[in-house]
Amino acid sequence: MLGSSVEIRNVDKFFGDFQALDKVNLQIKRGEFFSLLGPSGCGKTTLLRIIAGLEYPDSGDVLFDGISVVSIPANKREANTIFQNYALFPHLTVFENIAFSLRLKKMSENEIREKVEKLINLVRLEGQENKKPIQLSGGQRQRVAIARALANEPKVLLLDEPVSALDAKLRQELLLELDNLHDQVGITFIYVTHDQAEAISVSDHVAVMNNGRIVQIGTPYEIYESPADRFVATFIGETNLMKAEVVDVNDEFIRVIAKGLGEFSCYKDKEVSKGDKILLTLRPEKIKISTKPLEGINSFHGVVEEEIYMGYQTKYFVRLDEGYILKIYKQHVNYLLDEKIIHWKDEVFVTWNPNDSFIVEVEKG
């Protein structure tokens, strides 16, 4: 089995007056694990259904391997979908659910048996062949849905929030399984989710969507580390957003002054000039926190307002002397051997590397 490349060109979709998709362009490579990430109502599921052939775009084109498929109906398209609620056929057994598309192709009984058994082994459902969907657990149902979709030998597998109905622990397990499965079958996976952790943990590339538009496309690393705008910065993980004004610019760094913080340095990842108003993002785990004064260019002093112990890390909300509340995650590498444990109301020093903050918005001054 080998995947297709998928290209979306200028796709618009309206539902009445509501514009679900607005000039969407995407290029998905052959065999890639690609995620469409966004809040509910952002158009990601509509886009997936357009790729599946279950909806038609009002304008624009969908291409598989460079050939337009818009006129090909869902039942002839080489893409299969894992539906959010799995949509297993309630009247059929696990075996017959998986064999559904094979029977439509009028394969011989032996061929069907052989293929279905292979798929049952692939998704580890041995011994469940004769059960009805209602007798299965959520995780098992999902596996049946995957096997059923793969039985049709699609070149593109579309997954519509396939793990969202499961509990957190199972979700992690099945996500890993999906990742392994993707490596085994080698076809293109397009994965729709509203959960940023899911998207960045398994994907080769992620497209972040909002209000029917694609806001940013990149590797999980790019999306997380250098978000394109305020929406991406806040939607993917947690962050500190800081409004600041540029006071000095040199080749690599700029000096800014921010209300509630004071003056500090940051990396010049976008072209700015003196007097510009900018919005900065700084991830909470990039900030060092200590009860002793810290070395560094960007050093501030403050008081712990809130302390949330999470086991592997502690979240601190630190009110700086000038008023800004900074979110900081401290990893517990060596919890007890570390210097004094920081608690609520402790006075602390914080610092971060100027390379770790990113400019997400620029307003020319």
Binding site: G53, L54, P73, N75, F83, F89, H91, L104, N152
Partner: protein, 271 residues
């Protein structure tokens, strides 16, 4: 529990006891002016073993089966359409509106539509398609038409309920996996609404088997059904044991039919 007791009591008083009375009357002797003599006799059943009765029995069965079949053919797409419609409550209301009118009046209305001087014939005459009239009424097909018309709502409602609670995504999954819409209908829709289908068939078949007013009014001499024969034996012929015997046999046939049908459809669902 209280309700179940009340319901059981209701069934016993108005259903089981009358049934026992009918059954026992069928084994008694007739009197010349109606009523029965309380002495055992098989005369009621013996009078049924004539070719005329067998013909009426057979006609009752085939008219009922064909009517049921046609009713379901109409009810299925209608129920599907209503279940998927935005205006399902309004459409359901339209389905039950005929119940607001007395059923006899609705049957008479058909006479006005299909009669030799009815609306259709008048129209045909007006456009010059026929010289005098076409005989629509007083044949088995008129009976079938009115049975279908009368029992269509009874078939639509259970089918609607079955289709409405189905998850729409299973049709999309069927399309996605290569089904045409037609195949999705037979491979996914029908097997998943089997319970509703069985209910619809029973709701139409049983009353159709017991039809009396419809064949009486639009059926004519050659379309008499068992119901008409029961009435004739009870009234003009004054043969109560024979009327009871026919009733008992009709009940038995219907009951057997339903049991066999439900059993076989259950078996298919399980396999």
């Amino acid at each position: 529990m209280k309700y179940i007791t009340a319901y059981t009591l209701w069934l016993v008083v108005f259903f089981v006891i009358p049934l026992i009375i009918i059954l026992s009357f069928s084994f008694l002797e007739k009197t010349p002016y109606g009523g029965v003599n309380f002495s055992f006799s098989l005369e009621g059943y013996k009078s049924l073993l004539t070719i005329g009765y067998l013909r009426i029995l057979w006609r009752t069965v085939w008219i009922s089966i064909i009517s049921t079949f046609i009713t379901i053919i109409f009810a299925l797409p209608t129920a599907y359409y209503i279940a998927k419609s935005k205006f399902k409550n309004f459409l359901l209301l339209l389905v039950v509106i005929p119940f607001w009118t007395n059923s006899l009046i609705r049957i008479y209305a058909w006479i006005f539509v299909l009669g030799n001087n009815g609306i259709i014939n008048q129209f045909l005459k007006l456009i010059g398609l026929v010289d005098s009239h076409i005989q629509f009424l007083y044949n088995p097909w008129a009976v079938i038409l009115v049975i279908v018309y009368t029992y269509l709502p009874y078939a639509i409602i259970p089918l609607y309920a079955a289709i409405e609670r189905l998850d729409n995504s299973i049709f999309e999954a069927a399309l996605d996996l290569g089904c045409s819409k037609r195949k999705a209908f037979f491979k996914v829709l029908i097997p998943n609404i089997k319970a509703g289908l069985v209910a619809s068939i029973i709701f139409v078949l049983i009353p159709a088997m017991g039809s009396y007013a419809i064949p009486d009014l639009v059926g004519g001499v050659n379309s008499k059904m068992i119901g008409n024969e029961i009435a004739r034996q009870l009234t003009t012929a004054k043969n109560w044991p024979a009327a009871s015997a026919i009733s008992s046999i009709l009940t038995l046939i219907t009951l057997l039919g339903v049991i066999i049908f439900v059993k076989s459809s259950k078996k298919e669902v399980l396999n």
